[in-house]
């Protein structure tokens, strides 16, 4: 500022709450305009919604897989395979001994007949004895591990049981869940990568849409700047457009994911049933819907900022 202490163009006195009132007015106008251009707004919402839905769905899948693996990790089971020819009474004695251990929640005997029945289920053969001639399977004891047993304690306990008299082998049955945990980790990472790529896509879709709106209102913008509209004033409606597009896209994404969950729930439950495991699918929930709306809104704002910063600097009345 040159010349004198006095500002020759003092800021115009803004009444109290003018800022809030301005935002309310602009947001209302933008919402009305977005609804008036419903078809193009729907297309933008759908594009952003699809971009957000895929990473959100993967995130949800990862959380469900991790939850399933986590549930199992808390109570893994193991099977004590006994040496061939062990009497059922000995097996029951081993089961009773295991049941009394603090590391074990519950232990029960699987008779050779029960073992054969399970084996037959796997082979889908009506009478496995016809194939095998006689039942070669020994009795075994199956046990679930008590809550709070650490991985190290469990490994030590399994090693002790393996060395016990009459025991042939002890198998900790969690291999497939370890694989599931690995898959869950992989799905999680893919989800983050897709979230970054599709998030950028959503921001660019918004930027492109907002730019179209800017181009259709160039004369208005140049007149606003001519009469003293600040950059913030001129930019404000477009940021709201970005916000509406983003939040709308988030809503579409939430609906797409919720719909997909409904469609996928039955086959997933069947899959888990085949592992004798009960699956409780974690649905969308308020926080995830809120996060989708929030992330959508932020991406929309970001896209709008890109568009406005690039274009509005060039806008002046020729």
């Amino acid at each position: 500022m040159m010349g004198g202490d006095r500002d020759p163009w003092p800021p115009v006195q803004r009444p109290r709450f003018a800022w809030i009132r301005d935002h309310w007015r602009v947001s209302r106008d933008c919402f009305t305009l977005a609804c008036r251009r419903l078809w193009s707004s729907l297309l933008v919402w759908l594009l952003i919604g699809i971009s957000l839905a895929l990473p959100a769905a993967l995130y949800l899948l990862q959380r469900n897989l991790a939850a399933a693996a986590g549930q199992w990790d808390g109570r893994p089971s193991f099977t004590v395979y006994l040496q061939t020819g062990i009497e059922i009474g000995v097996a029951e004695g081993i089961a009773d001994r295991l049941d009394a251990q603090p590391e074990v929640e519950r232990a029960w005997v699987i008779t050779p007949q029960q073992a054969l029945a399970e084996f037959s289920e796997g082979l889908t053969i009506t009478d496995a004895l016809e194939v095998l001639g006689e039942n070669p399977l020994p009795a075994s004891v199956r046990a679930t591990v008590a809550d709070g047993v650490s991985e190290g304690e469990l490994q030590r306990f399994i090693a002790e049981q393996s060395a016990a008299e009459g025991v042939d082998e002890v198998v900790l049955e969690k291999a497939w869940l370890e694989r599931m945990a690995a898959i869950s980790d992989f799905v999680g990472r893919v989800g983050w990568i897709l979230a970054a790529v599709f998030g950028l896509g959503a921001a660019l879709v918004t930027a492109s849409s907002v730019r179209l709106v800017i181009e259709s209102r160039l004369e208005e913008l140049s007149v606003q700047k001519l009469v003293g509209g600040t950059d913030a004033f001129v930019r404000r409606p477009f940021l709201y457009f970005g916000l509406f597009y983003g939040v709308g896209g988030g809503m579409v994404a939430a609906m797409l994911v919720a719909g997909s969950l409904v469609a996928l729930e039955a086959p997933l439950v069947t899959l888990f049933d085949s592992y004798k495991e009960r699956l409780t699918i974690e649905g969308m929930g308020g926080p995830l819907v809120g996060a989708l709306l929030g992330v959508g809104g932020l991406l929309g704002l970001f896209g709008a900022l890109i568009a406005t910063n690039r274009r509005l600097k060039q806008v002046e009345l020729a």
Binding site: M1, M2, G3, G4, P8, W9, P11, V12, R14, P15, A18, W19, R21, D22, E219, E220, S222, V223, Q224, K225, L226, V227, G228, G229, T230, D231, F233, E316, L317, A318
Partner: protein, 225 residues
């Protein structure tokens, strides 16, 4: 508050053409001047420099003691909020009503809606268009559109009023009325610069006349000279 001084101002475009050459002029607060000259003489460029739509290639433009050609970008809106500008092609927004067009300079200052409406209607009343406040610009004649542009330029009670051919679409009687309006603004301290070809106005209004030719000042005549 509206003194202007141009010191050796030159405006050269990228193609090498000089729209203004070494122009030095001063305008006292509350003064009024006609800027005249044939097409391409540099009148519009002169006004655009004062509106900060263009920057001088060399020289200084000092408004109220501030060299506006070095004004930071963030302070330009505040400077423009104290200006009024009238263009020959109006620059009215076709999807806004007459009242909304006139209110625009007040809306950007976040004034209360009630005050905006009151002042915008007062400006429309001054140009005789209050009855047409709800119409859209396309429903108005060229002369009426020009008057809406004038109402918009004066609605914020500017310190500096710049007009480019403001009476180009008006009949002689209305032209004099508009000029009378500008004179009133001058009386309350606004500096008024009007670019015009209208020789009749120039001869009858009795205000300072600056004539440009190929970007140079070839005449600067005070009233009564």
């Amino acid at each position: 508050m509206g003194s202007i001084a141009l010191h050796d101002v030159t405006k050269r475009f990228d193609n090498g053409q000089e729209a203004l050459r070494n122009v030095s002029l001063t305008f006292d607060e509350g003064s009024m001047a006609f800027l005249t000259g044939h097409s391409g003489a540099g009148k519009s460029t002169f006004l655009k420099l004062l509106l900060l739509l263009q920057l001088p290639t060399q020289g200084q433009i000092v408004v109220n003691g501030v060299n506006i050609s070095q004004l930071p970008r963030r302070r330009i809106p505040r400077y423009r909020q104290h200006l009024g500008a009238v263009f020959q092609d109006h620059h009215l927004l076709s999807d806004r009503t007459v009242l909304e067009n006139v209110a625009l300079p007040l809306v950007v200052t976040s004034m209360r809606a009630r005050d905006i409406a009151t002042r915008a209607r007062a400006a429309l009343s001054m140009v005789g268009l209050l009855a047409k406040e709800r119409l859209y610009p396309s429903h108005l004649s060229a002369g009426e559109q020009q008057r809406v542009g004038i109402a918009r330029a004066v609605v914020n009670r500017p310190n500096l009023l710049l007009a480019d051919e403001p009476t180009g679409n008006l009949d002689p009687a209305l032209s004099r009325e508009v000029m009378g309006l500008f004179v009133n603004f001058r009386r309350i301290g606004a500096t008024v610069i009007v670019a015009t070809h209208d020789q009749h106005l120039i001869e009858t209004m009795g205000v300072r006349v600056i004539e440009l030719d190929s970007g140079r000042v070839i005449r600067d005549e005070a009233p009564g000279a």
